[in-house]
Structures are given as C-alpha cells and as structure tokens.
C-alpha cells in the first residue's frame, strides 16, 4: 500500500511535535481516554482530513451514537466529513434485534468486508467504541476474540483506530477483564486526558506507544479552536 499526499501526523496541527514519522499503514491505533477528552473528535478529524488529500476510502463505525448525532457533534466542533469517509451506525440493527442481539465482533467484520468489496481502496477504519463492541459480544472468551479481531484488521491491511473509554485513572473500562491485552495487541496507543490545576482543566494528548516510529512521550496540550483540533506544547508548561 503506498502513502498518499497526506500523512496522518499532518492532519492535526502540531501533531508533528510529538510524532517524527507517520503512523505506519496497517497499524492498529488504540485511542484511550475518559469522557470529554476528544477521542471521537480527534479520530474523526484525523481520518477525515487524511482522506481529503488521498485517493482512499474510510469507514467510521459508531456503535452507540446515531450517524446524525455523531455528525452534529462533530459539526459543533467545526469538524466536517467528506464523501470518502462512510459513517456506519448500528442503531437500526440494535433496535430491531434488541431481543436477540447478534455478536457484534462478527457483524463488524462482515460490515468491513462489505465495504471492502464496495470500495477497493478502503484503507482506514475506526471503531467507536471498543467498550461497546466488547459489551455486545456474545463470546465467552473475549480476550481470544479480541486477538482474532485485531489479527483480521491487520490481515485486511487497514489502518484501524479503536476508541476506548477509560476512567481518569487509565485502567480499562471493558466489560470483560482482558488484562489490558488491547494495549499489548495495538501497535500504537494514544492517550487523551484531562489535567486539573486549581480551577483550570486542560486536555492533553500523549503517544504512549508507536511501533516503528520515533515519538515523544510527554503530554502535550490539546485544544479546539476555529481551525479544529490542535496540539500545543507541553501541558506542564501551560499550567
């Protein structure tokens, strides 16, 4: 798979302060953080901007929000989508099958396969969220299912962003105890969080792990402005 004109690190202003190279194609990126830390917005923004300049196609699957509600939230932050990014929401399926909900891991793989058949150049996938997928999986051995799910994403050559909600302490909120296997299985872990200093609360971004790419480990401030999301300098220098 060849790189297009746009690199992921250039999709967010200031992200090049943290990442030296670019996120390798086909990587699995776990984006973790508590509520309100801009997980969905960051991922949506990165993918949407990446696809604007590359002749590729993306799929953003949202398990808990409707497509309309998600787009409304993104618009409120000044983030827009483009035709190359397809949004799939599970709300109809979940409502109609509420008494007999299917295994969402299997369903998600089928959805990816469908769009790969439709769009040969489907290269980017986002799942919002891994917690929801986990709670809707019928699998007794979720850790094993997660391993195969990650393997299948890799085999398909997709650059996959998996959003995972964590409590402020950073521990997993998955319905099953996976022993944080998702952190080991992912190629990259981007942590988003909040830091309080007196009455001031600021958002930060930290790249905790990025296989094959030099990156800084420090926590940088994350802000939303008219131009969308930007990464500023070290958060500790701003408080």
């Amino acid at each position: 798979m060849s790189k297009g004109d746009q690199m992921f690190r250039d999709t967010i202003k200031g992200l090049d302060k943290i990442i030296e190279g670019d996120i390798p194609n086909g990587s699995i990126i776990l984006v973790t953080g508590a509520e309100g830390t801009l997980k969905s917005s960051l991922v949506f923004s990165m993918i949407s901007r990446y696809l604007e300049k590359n002749n590729e196609f993306g799929l953003y699957a949202t398990l808990e929000q409707t497509k309309e509600s998600h787009l409304k939230n993104m618009a409120s932050l000044g983030l827009t989508t483009n035709n190359a990014l397809h949004l799939f929401d599970y709300s109809d399926m979940r409502t109609e099958w509420k008494d007999n909900e299917p295994d969402m891991i299997k369903v998600t793989e089928e959805i990816i396969d469908f769009y790969r058949c439709e769009q040969e150049k489907l290269t980017v996938f986002a799942l919002d969220s891994l917690n929801a997928l986990c709670s809707l999986s019928n699998e007794a051995n979720f850790r094993r299912s997660l391993y195969y799910f990650f393997s299948n994403l890799r085999n398909k050559g997709l650059t996959s962003f998996l959003i995972m909600e964590t409590p402020p302490s950073g521990t997993s909120l998955l319905a099953y105890d996976t022993g944080r296997s998702e952190h080991f299985l992912a190629d990259c872990v981007i942590e988003l969080g909040l830091i309080e200093a007196g009455e001031d609360v600021k958002r930060y971004i930290q790249v905790r792990k990025m296989r094959g790419v030099n990156h800084r480990l420090e926590k940088n401030q994350l802000v939303v402005g008219e131009q969308g999301i930007s990464v500023l300098g070290s958060i500790y220098r701003s408080i």
């Binding site: 799939f88 409502t95 089928e110």
Partner: protein, 129 residues
C-alpha cells in the same frame, strides 16, 4: 424448508431435493443467495416495505438461508444512499425504519431482477441440458 417454498415446487422436484436437503442442496442455495444478496433484498422489498429485521426474516422463510445483519444492513444503507431505496419511520414507532423502493427506481429495479432471473434460467438450461 419453509411452507412457502414447498408450495412453489412440484412433487418431483421436492422428492429429489429432500434426499439432499441437508447437504449439497442447502450449500448451493446458500451460495446463490449469499453471492446475490442485493438482488434478494430488492426482491423482498419489491413486494412490500420492510425493516431490516423483516428483510432477513423473509429471506430466511423463503430460501431457508440466513443472511446476517452485517450483510443486510450495509446493503440497505448503500441502496438508500444511491437513491434506489427510501426509508421512513413506522407510524408510532420512531425507532424502526421501513425501506421501500423509490417510485422512480421501480422500473430499474424490476429490470435488474428480470436480468438476474434470466441469467439464472440460462444457467439452469445449461445445467439441465
């Protein structure tokens, strides 16, 4: 096999099928339906508006093939985006969407279904020759 399907077959065919029903026959039907799932979805929606759940149920009742949710819902959304299908919420139920063929696309859809039927017939002619 569903009652609906049984009624459509004559007794000879039924006799032959029953021997293989659980084996090869099921596999062939399964492959035909899954490989042409969009046509089968259009076929059931050509008869009456339905939600995704009912589309899956109807295909199961008629063909004894379960098309999974991960296959059917993306088809419905894609066809809706292409303007071939339209969706409306059921009266009194804002949570279940009914899909139907857009009136201006009915002719195109019928042509597509006819083409598929012709293709299947000519294959059948070749196989039974």
């Amino acid at each position: 096999m569903s009652e609906v399907r049984e009624k459509e077959l004559n007794s000879n065919e039924l006799e032959n099928i029953s021997e293989l029903e659980d084996g090869e026959y099921k596999k062939f039907v399964d492959r035909i339906v899954k490989a042409n799932r969009e046509i089968f979805v259009l076929c059931v929606l050509a008869n009456k508006p339905m939600c995704g759940y009912d589309v899956i149920k109807e295909i199961f009742v008629r063909c004894n093939v379960f098309l999974s949710q991960g296959n059917v819902y993306p088809i419905l959304y894609s066809l809706e985006e292409e303007g071939i299908l339209r969706a409306e919420f059921t009266r009194g139920n804002m949570r279940s969407k009914l899909y139907f063929i857009a009136p201006e696309k009915r002719e195109t859809v019928q042509k597509k279904i006819d083409l598929f039927a012709n293709a299947m017939e000519s294959m059948l002619f070749f196989v039974k020759r």
